[in-house]
């Protein structure tokens, strides 16, 4: 089953397309990382999936339902990059309001988590630090016991220890509850630790969408003479070429190194950066590279 399916999805703000012709499927049970340049359309995509933005074109489903429908709303939790909370409320009132706003609510989970973070204070939400607000928003999102969690740069305001702790908690929820997660981030090292599915957006379009394992297995980093780099395109699918003097480093989609080239496995960071450097290269669900 796919947790997310989009077909020809587009969103236009005045004359600018933030997202265009987006065709994407994300299977259930994955932690899907959503990466892309600033303005690539990540936030727009997540907001459409969360049901707070209406697409201009195309269709989208989350867990088989239209985003924003009651079924989708009950099963999907989202934390926007703006960390939307009722900032003028006290933390306890925010918690109480969230409880009233939801048909399904795990109050014990929320209280225990907030207590462990020392957030069950009488202070106002707006007075909490950015990291604490993010922790609160994540807690409220998970207390809904969703089947799909959409997170838009959730870790940006957290310190390194808190990031590690939150990621660990997320992974526990994924393992224990079968939760699927889609989260966007610019910190690729974080994605590398938890992501099992990678989606790269570029200029409002899906550039890469595949499991991390299949991507890592099907790509190699090739090192060889720069003079031969131009001829390499005839032998393998070249994603990017970086020249340094007489040497060239090539990210290629291949499982074997061509003669005269040294090969090694790629890291997720190299893979992501390679595709971000070359927006016209695509890896779509069947791992077909198109240039």
């Amino acid at each position: 089953m796919n947790i997310i399916e989009t077909d020809g999805l587009g969103k236009r703000y005045r004359q600018t397309w933030a997202l265009r012709d987006c065709r994407l499927t994300v299977p259930a049970g994955h932690v899907a990382a959503l990466v892309g340049h600033n303005g690539a359309g990540k936030t727009t995509l997540l907001r459409i999936l969360a049901g707070v933005v209406t697409p201009t074109a195309g269709t989208a489903t989350v867990l088989g339902c239209t985003p924003g429908s009651q079924q989708a709303r009950d099963a999907v939790s989202a934390v926007d990059q703006t960390v939307p909370l009722y900032r003028h409320l006290r933390v306890r009132d925010q918690l109480a309001a969230a409880r009233e706003l939801n048909d399904q609510w795990d109050n014990d989970l929320a209280v225990q988590r907030l207590s462990s973070l020392n957030l069950m204070t009488s202070g106002k939400v707006g007075k909490l630090s950015g990291g604490q607000q993010a922790q609160l928003a994540l807690t409220l999102a998970l207390a809904r016991r969703p089947r799909l969690l959409l997170l838009d740069e959730p870790l940006a305001s957290l310190d390194p220890l808190a990031r590690q702790e939150v990621l660990g908690w997320l992974m526990t929820c994924v393992a224990e509850d079968g939760l699927s997660v889609v989260f966007s981030s610019h910190v690729i090292a974080e994605l590398e630790r938890v992501a099992t599915y990678l989606v790269v957006l570029s200029q409002g379009r899906v550039q890469v969408a595949a499991t991390v394992d299949s991507l890592l297995d099907s790509h190699l980093s090739l090192t060889g003479p720069a003079a031969n780099a131009d001829h390499l395109a005839g032998q393998v699918s070249v994603i990017t070429v970086q020249r340094a003097g007489r040497q060239a480093q090539v990210l290629a989609r291949t499982d074997a190194a061509p003669p005269g080239w040294a090969a090694r496995s790629v890291t997720m960071e190299e893979l992501v950066l390679g595709y971000l450097r070359e927006p016209s290269a695509r890896v779509l669900p069947r791992l077909e590279v198109a240039r």
Binding site: A50, G51, V52, R73, E100, L101, N102, Q104
Partner: protein
């Protein structure tokens, strides 16, 4: 105990959320109206005490307001009294105008901000990703606030009506039941204006989504509604269902406290002539003039179309129904707009 009572009456969940989120409004709206009601009651008690101390209570019993007013002003020592003279046109008129301000202030500082700030601050992104739909959020918040405002406006309206029973005679020369002051100083009218203010605030908040521009738009729109409701609307309504009456005969007069909606002249079987046309001819006639004879000589009869006093309650009701209908349309338009433009 309170918690048990709340549980027992099963307060809708959005109402509880409204309480958590908009406590200042939930307390401020009743505070404003009840303060105004208290001031009106105090003023009314002082006025009634003054009338009673001057032994003028009998004046209030006249069926015709102008007679009551004459009685009060002619029989009272003009410079005495609690407020250095009973007749105080501006004080009374100002208080009536302030009653409008209650609805305007409620819409401006309670109705517009709660919804516009939700969009401006991005709070909707939290609410809409919970189990409540945008429509349920909109109506679930607007409903309790508006019901509360309507209820306290009704209480304030009762106080205003009681206050105006005496205060109307402080207007120099009094007022008629058909005057705008009389129409406004009723519980129904206060409620209608409050509902309209809240509904307009909702519509402008949902469409504009920025607090300050929405507040400015509300002030302009609500002001326009006030002007229309005082000028065009009564003029239109008071012409509906009028009773025509020929005035040529000296025995024929329209009842006191009725409202003359239209006057015209006519020849038997002929078209209506406007008073301006006839008066132009009258000016050319040799003076002094016996109007009745002149009209008879020219085969003219004078007609009026009037609203008897018994129609007033229905016309006032119709006026309030129109205000409430506009409010309902504004709410429906808000829901429609939110469905078409959930967020950008």
């Amino acid at each position: 105990m309170t918690a048990l009572m709340i549980k027992a009456i099963k307060v809708p969940r959005m109402t509880q959320v409204t309480w958590y989120r908009h406590r200042a409004l939930v307390l401020g709206i009743p505070g404003l109206y009840l303060l105004a009601a208290a001031l009106l009651v105090i003023d009314s008690v002082l006025q009634r005490h003054w009338v009673s101390s001057q032994h003028l209570t009998y004046c209030l019993a006249y069926a015709d307001n102008s007679t009551s007013s004459r009685c009060l002003t002619q029989n009272s020592p003009y410079t005495l009294g609690v407020f250095a003279g009973f007749v105080d046109y501006w004080r009374t008129e100002g208080t009536v105008l302030a009653a409008f301000l209650l609805a305007a202030v409620t819409g401006l500082f309670a109705g517009v901000p709660w919804v516009a700030r939700e969009f401006e601050g991005g709070g909707f992104r939290f609410t809409w990703t919970q189990s409540v739909s945008p429509r349920r959020w909109l109506l679930g918040t607007f409903g309790p606030l508006t019901v509360l405002a309507g209820a306290v406006a009704a209480i304030c309206g009762v106080a205003a009506h009681w206050w105006f029973q005496v205060a109307q005679f402080r207007l120099d020369g009094g007022t008629t039941p058909w005057g705008w002051e009389s129409l406004e100083m009723t519980p129904l009218s206060m409620v209608s204006w409050t509902l309209l203010a809240m509904a307009l605030a909702l519509l402008l908040g949902v469409t504009i989504r920025r607090v300050l521009p929405a507040m400015i738009a509300f002030a302009v729109t609500f002001g326009g509604c006030l002007v229309l409701a005082q000028t065009w609307l009564p003029e239109f309504l008071f012409r509906v269902g009028t009773i025509p009456l020929r005035l040529n005969s000296s025995t024929q007069e329209y009842p006191t406290s009725s409202y003359v909606a239209q006057t015209w002249f006519a020849r038997p079987g002929g078209p209506k002539l406007s008073p301006m046309t006839v008066y132009a001819q009258l000016n050319n006639a040799p003076q002094p003039l016996d109007l009745a004879r002149w009209l008879t000589q020219h085969h003219l009869s004078e007609w009026v179309a009037y609203q008897p006093h018994s129609h007033l309650v229905w016309l006032a009701l119709a006026r309030n129904v129109i205000l409430v209908a506009v409010a309902v349309l504004a709410v429906l338009a808000s829901v429609w707009w939110l469905r078409k433009h959930p967020a950008e």
